[in-house]
Amino acid sequence: MQGYIYPNEFELQWSLLIVLYPYLTGLVAGAFILASLERVFNVKEVQPTYRLSLLTALAFLLVAPLPLLAHLGHPERSYEIFLTPNTNSAMAMFGFVYAWYLAVVLLLEVWFDYRKDMVLWARESRGVRRWIYYVLTLGATDISEKSLRFDDSAGRWITVIGIPSAFLLHGYVGFIFGSIKANPWWSSVLMPVVFLFSAMVSGIALVLVLYMLTTMFRWRKIDMACLDKLAQFLFYALVVDFSLEALDFIHRLYESEESIEILRQLIESRLFISLIVLQVVMGTVIPLIALALVSPGLKKGGFLRTPPELRQIIYLVAAVFIQIGIFSIRWNVVIGGQLFSKSLRGLTVYKVELLGIEGLAMTIGLLLLPFVILWVLVKLLPPWSDGPEPDTPPASG
């Protein structure tokens, strides 16, 4: 502790789990927006990641409310936000934003996209698996050309609705923070927009990593056109995200409200590592430079001509750095906003507990859970259409 703080500011109320929540929803929104690139904007190169993006968004969306439930306690009461909706509270409307996105957008889009396959798998499978697929089709087993055209058209429209919905989902999370007018670190109309673009960055980076790893572990050749395109969009999203963050920062500096001094102290002391080192340098500047130099999407062949193998490693490292940077953004917003006193005269400290319902172990568990769900989803609804997996790795050369 340093300087003067009010008694109720000594202990932070929003813990590591509340850092995790916007991080997870950001990945959901980002992964979905990536999927919509192929579906709505017809970017054919990223087609290999379309279904993977949808399943990734679904897996992370299923876990997204769990940090909130663990943080608030009494998960058995959570259904009450549906029964007695409080329209005056943005937080209380989360259930509806979430339910809309899950049921009307993601599940429907996955369903329309997989319906034909599920019908075929139900016909080919035996035993329980056959019934699972049959139940998942809801009995709609018509796969005539007309019916499939309807699936395609419906899926496209849902994606069109889904893009503003994804904006709503993550913009909503930014809105929660941006609308807290008593906190100068949060209160900014740019907050929902910044959240949105950082969500796109994190979602694209995550799908890029997942696409590379799943392709490698299936002993398949990575589609470099797809990877280059992903890297190109990742670069664009990162540029916009960084510009918005810089705009927000410069705006605060120029405005120089009375909070500027304590925010300066906050950045120079408590948030130096997580903001300057991790978020700006590691999570933004290094990936920006790396992607700008090697991405062939920006200049034919890239500013530095690199063999595909090296480019893959650079993309992978850049995407992992970006994930660390985006997690740091969430940390800097959520924890940073509680580290300084509303008196603007003091700073407190936050120590992460290891065990316990809001501890590090719980956070790691909730961070790994989407990957377990994704693994189950991938087993149930394989997102790739390149035939059965070979038993052995292909011979090199």
């Binding site: 502790m1 500011e9 029964l83 409080n86 319906r115």
Partner: protein, 242 residues
């Protein structure tokens, strides 16, 4: 109509109807009558048995103590804050007695050191401040008086004063051990205050035959640490002995 439409419509209809059925079954009747809560909750709360009597009731029988407290630093701390709810005691004064707290964990609710408390508020570190001793053994809770460091000392020696305040020697004033000539305030470096020069000075409380409280640690002055003066080994503003 494509086969998918009625199937999906049925699923969504089940979900929406389920929501409305759940609402009709689970939302209490009086919810929303007065605000975003169950209005009947007020009646439920009113029906709770009364447990607190209020300090006016205490004053009627315990006037001397109430007056002592009303004039003390604890004038804002009402009787039932420490003694617990006393409605039952008021109803049956002879058979039901309120709690007389002796545990240290009650006082530290307000007096444990916390960086967010005002610095002038009396605070202690309960781990080092006379461990296991009940607070009321030294401090009269109805008229507590915090140990006072002379303002003229703490103005310059604030760090020592703060450390002393949380030590076993908290109740000793600076003047107990030091004689500070008036000139020391005008010319602090040229005119120094005294320090105890004899071992027997600390022995007043700590010698084996000293006539002081039994809780104070004792030593044999003839054999312990000769030929040093006590403060050459023990820091008297924060003595380590328990």
């Amino acid at each position: 109509m494509p086969q998918q439409v009625p199937r999906l419509a049925a699923v969504f209809a089940v979900a929406v109807i389920g929501l409305f059925v759940a609402r009709s079954l689970l939302v209490p009747d009086t919810f929303g009558d007065l605000g975003h809560y169950r209005a009947a909750a007020i009646d439920t709360i009113v029906a709770h048995p009364k447990e607190y009597a209020g300090h006016q009731e205490c004053t009627m029988c315990h006037r001397p103590i109430a007056e002592q407290r009303a004039a003390s630093n604890h004038r804002g701390v009402r009787c039932e804050v420490c003694h617990g709810p006393a409605a039952a005691h008021v109803a049956n004064p002879l058979e039901i007695k309120p709690a007389v707290p002796r545990e240290r964990d009650l006082c530290v609710l307000c007096h444990a050191y916390s960086p967010s408390r005002p610095t002038g508020f009396p605070q202690i570190d309960s781990v080092t401040h006379n461990p296991r001793m009940p607070c009321a053994g030294c401090h009269e809770p109805h008229a507590p008086e915090p140990p006072v460091t002379p303002r003229e000392c703490s103005a310059c020696h604030g760090q020592i004063a703060n450390q002393l305040a949380v030590s076993h020697h908290a109740e000793l004033n600076c003047g107990t051990c030091h004689e500070a000539p008036k000139e020391h305030r005008d010319n602090p470096r040229a005119v120094r205050p005294t320090k105890p020069a004899e071992r027997s000075f600390c022995g007043t409380c700590h010698a084996a035959d000293a006539r002081s409280s039994e809780r104070i640690p004792r030593i044999d002055l003839r054999s312990h640490g000769q030929p040093y003066v006590c403060w050459q080994c023990h820091y008297p503003h924060y003595p380590e002995a328990r």
